[in-house]
Amino acid sequence: MKNIAFVTFLIISIIIFAASTFIDKNNFEINENTPVAEVLLQLGEPTPDHTQNKETTKDLVAIGKNIVLNGLSSKTGEGGRRQSKHFVCTSCHNVQREDPILSISDPEARLEYAQQNGLPFLQGTTLHGVVNRESWYNGDYDKKYDPRKIKPAQTDLREAIQLCATECAQGRELKDWELESVLAYLWTLELKMDDLDLSNADLQRIENGINDASQRSELVQFIKSKYSQASPATFIDQPDNLEAGYQLKGNADKGKLVYDLSCKHCHENGRYSMFVLGDSKMDYRFMKRNFTKYTRYSTYHVISYGYATNGKRQYMPNYTLERMSKQQIEDLRAFFERESE
């Protein structure tokens, strides 16, 4: 009797052990809408600090969207108090994909992509996929801000959002619930597998690799190679000789694109600037005349260094090389010269 009981117990244990092994196998399926962050988690990557529980934060998305798109904050997600008197997030940032290849920051390609997709061409990196990055305020932005503010912002997205709210947008600091709401909205802009332009074979390989520990590291690197973990930023210097410029032949048609999609985004009808620019010959002549002057009105100067006046919080942020190339600046100059005739 004792022997029968023992054998029965052994058989049941074996069955339970085998069943648990079978259950442990991950059946995670990947399709084009699967968030990249989720795939990386499945591949063993650590959870980013700015991760939220989407179930508990789904009601915050509308509030965050109102803050980001309209600059207004209210608990209903409509109307409300302004975060900044001068700017909203979308003054400088798109909320859609803005690069044809996510891993390459090429302003020439981005301008063409912007034209094809009806996007503005802006100084700030898009918020699409900002939650997928591992660092923010990269490159030469170190030179621009107080190290006590920028160091935390470079490794913590919440700190980066607050730095943007107070310094870049010249507004007030976000309250905790506002910050979490903005983050909740930004998570809706996270990268999906479809954004990485992977083939079906790649997707299958990743899906299969989730259950193979030996492949995980390589797959993580592979996925991360498809988009930028950071946004490189190289500050430009204006040319030594403004008449000579950057000594590149400008293309006036491309310059018109820069003017329409970039300059006019802020300056048309006084949208974000009190210095109004439109499509009048007087505007073009003014811009042409001042392009090569050694004054704060020089376009070389304001693109390279931005524009600010003492005592006035509203300002113009500078462009980095990754956001406007020297060629594009010369294209803009060629456009003003052509339109001034």
Partner: protein, 285 residues
């Protein structure tokens, strides 16, 4: 007055809906005032305009010349005040003027509403203005004086205007301004109510500089008799982006509508015109 208000409100609602989807013509004038007269412009929402205006004394004539350093040592009127864009179409105005007529220390409160906005289907912009001038000066002991203010209501004057303007091109805009002024107290045998028609024009010379002109023709017996004259102004406007500066020459002594329209009596031919300037600065509020 009630019927007029209801009609105006209905007009406002209809016109607001009409203009919503069209691309609107902006900057018919660069400022909310031309020289003496208001322009058709209203401020953008949440913008605050701080304005200082000054009219010196007569450049020439009996009260001008070297003795007063061509009027620079006198001030015929001074304006300090604010305008605020409640919405893109509705602007509130609050200014204080010294005053040049019989009433002084005037607080002017006005509302401007942009009823029509020029676009590809609407040939003009129209702004309606309603306001009051309230004299805060001390009442006179003289029972014959206009500032005796036997009744509190005597301190008030009212202005209603329609600014009808068209931006013909980036270089030229034109405005017509019919007005109605009511003064609660006037001198004996002088109309309490005055209708007038004004015109204003802007000629943009470059992105920064423009020439401005405005004139107002009141219809009253006193103006026909020559007791009062037409206020006319010429100005040079300088736009630096955020600031608008204006230097002008005008025979109008006062700066508020309830002042300069009924009370201007200066003659250009006798040197009774003056230098003036206005500085306005925009803030985001």
């Amino acid at each position: 007055m009630k019927k007029i208000t209801i009609i105006l409100l209905a007009f406002v609602c209809l016109t607001h809906t009409y203009a919503q989807e069209r691309e609107l013509v902006q900057r018919t004038f660069k400022s909310t005032r031309v020289i003496n007269t208001h322009s058709v412009e209203t401020l953008q929402k949440n913008k605050l305009d701080f304005r200082v205006g000054h009219r010196f004394g007569d450049l020439a004539g009996d009260a001008g010349g070297w003795a007063t350093f061509y009027g620079l040592e006198n001030a015929s009127d001074v304006l300090i005040g604010f305008q605020y864009g409640i919405t893109d179409r509705l602007t509130a105005v609050l200014t204080r003027t010294k005053g040049a007529g019989p009433h002084r220390a005037i607080v002017n409160a006005q509302l401007k509403y942009r009823a029509l906005w020029q676009n590809d289907e609407m040939p003009v912009s129209v702004t309606l203005l309603a306001g009051t001038g309230f004299s805060t000066m001390q009442a006179s002991e003289n029972p014959e004086a206009l500032n005796r203010f036997e009744k509190y209501s005597h301190r008030f004057s009212y202005v209603y205007q329609a600014h009808i303007a068209r931006k013909f091109s980036d270089r030229f805009s034109l405005q017509i301004t019919p007005s109605y002024i009511h003064r609660n107290i006037t001198a004996f045998d002088i109309d309490n109510d005055i209708f007038s028609i004004g015109a204003a024009a802007r000629v943009q010379l470059s992105k920064v500089y423009a020439i401005l002109v405005d004139v107002t023709a009141p219809f009253s017996e006193q103006h026909s008799n020559g007791d009062f004259t037409l206020p006319v102004g010429f100005g040079l406007e300088i736009d630096t982006g955020g600031h608008i500066f204006q230097i002008n020459l005008t025979n109008a002594q006062g700066m508020a509508e309830t002042d300069y329209i009924p009370y201007t009596n200066a003659l250009w031919a006798e040197g009774q015109f003056r230098l003036g300037f206005t500085i306005s600065r925009l803030f985001n509020l």
